[in-house]
Symmetry: none
Subunit: 252 residues, 2 copies
Amino acid sequence: MEILTAGQISLVYNAFSFGIATFAAATVFFWFGRSQVSHQYKTAMTIAGLVTFIALYHYWRIFESWGQAYQVVGGVVTATGDVFNRAYRYVDWLLTVPLLLIELILVMRLSQAETVSKSIKLGGAAALMIALGYPGEVSGGIDSTRLIWGALSMVPFLYIVFTLYTSLGSAIERQPVAVRGLIRLARNLTVVSWFFYPVVYFLPFVLALDGGTTIAAVEVGYTIADITAKAVFGLVIYAIAVRKSEIEGAKA
Amino acid sequence: MEILTAGQISLVYNAFSFGIATFAAATVFFWFGRSQVSHQYKTAMTIAGLVTFIALYHYWRIFESWGQAYQVVGGVVTATGDVFNRAYRYVDWLLTVPLLLIELILVMRLSQAETVSKSIKLGGAAALMIALGYPGEVSGGIDSTRLIWGALSMVPFLYIVFTLYTSLGSAIERQPVAVRGLIRLARNLTVVSWFFYPVVYFLPFVLALDGGTTIAAVEVGYTIADITAKAVFGLVIYAIAVRKSEIEGAKA
């Protein structure tokens, strides 16, 4: 168990608490937003809120687990022997990452057949990506186990990125002009924020990741990436849903 | 009290936490879904959410009970002496299993008389099935007590499976073509996921179930079966309700 400084422990604490507050607020905003978009986009808003709601739950657990792993008394840090449960992140991603892709597909309002087939393909690939990363993460070592599972996990990851720019990309180009830019933004936001995760996963092979500074940096970095990929992404989805509701309402 | 490895304890923890997050998300989704289906299917969605809500409560209790039964400090596992309360699962099933069958009957929108009679017969059989399994489970031994109660419990179980493919099966064939496949899927999902439970119940007679690996496998397996039978099943019920609402709305 690595010992961090009291300042690092409190920084991570505050980042987790920031995550809890942000996800709680985003959840309420997205669910209230359901009443401000037309019928066709309500499910996308429900799911945007579900993603942040699930993240809220896991950040709560992560916050508690962090508190149980370290004790700071009078500025002196002791590791309690309880292990900080990193796996909560994987449990979270297993649920939220497929939902994020489904959120994007739903707000595009493709044909029913296309919605179902793209949701299954992209959502399934996302779940597979997380499930393959998990054994490498919990193995704990910086060895071939981590490397092999990580490499396997990159296959569905690259498939998703590829699909977002090819078949989903061409569907984006058929969206109404007024929202095309926003949908591209949502897609790019997904890809950019997601690249943070494999970087952190493979970083131990390049840098010594044992130090307290690195642990703190990784946890704060994950928190920022999660907030971008879930709450900020959800805001863009909301903006798309509102604008499409207006355009389609005006037509009708 | 069997001692598991730290990795097994944490795997089961994460599976329970995954259950909590999934059931919470599913509950919200089904209850929001009430506003997206027509009047006739709102009760089915209410019940779909009740099932996952009750499961959420019990997974929370199971999670807490698991945490009280084992302590992991510095990678070393000790049994605290508190017994992991397996019985929560039976309390959960006593409520949720009859509700699951009623959910399926409600979304079919049979005549009022048929709805009431099928709900009483199938719901009653389901409650009886769980009540008969309970004394065998809590007896703790792998002996004739477990065997006899288990065998008695199989009678209503087989009656339910039989009914789902005979009298309910012919009612399914009278459903609108557009949803018939989905209703068959819901019925089959029920039967397939339910078969997991008697298999686990009778497994100790065939395999030595004392090992940590088996305990972990059973708890993770139950969690997957519960998520399939409750949350995934509920999603299929939601899809049926939405599609029937559309068809019937178009007709009216």
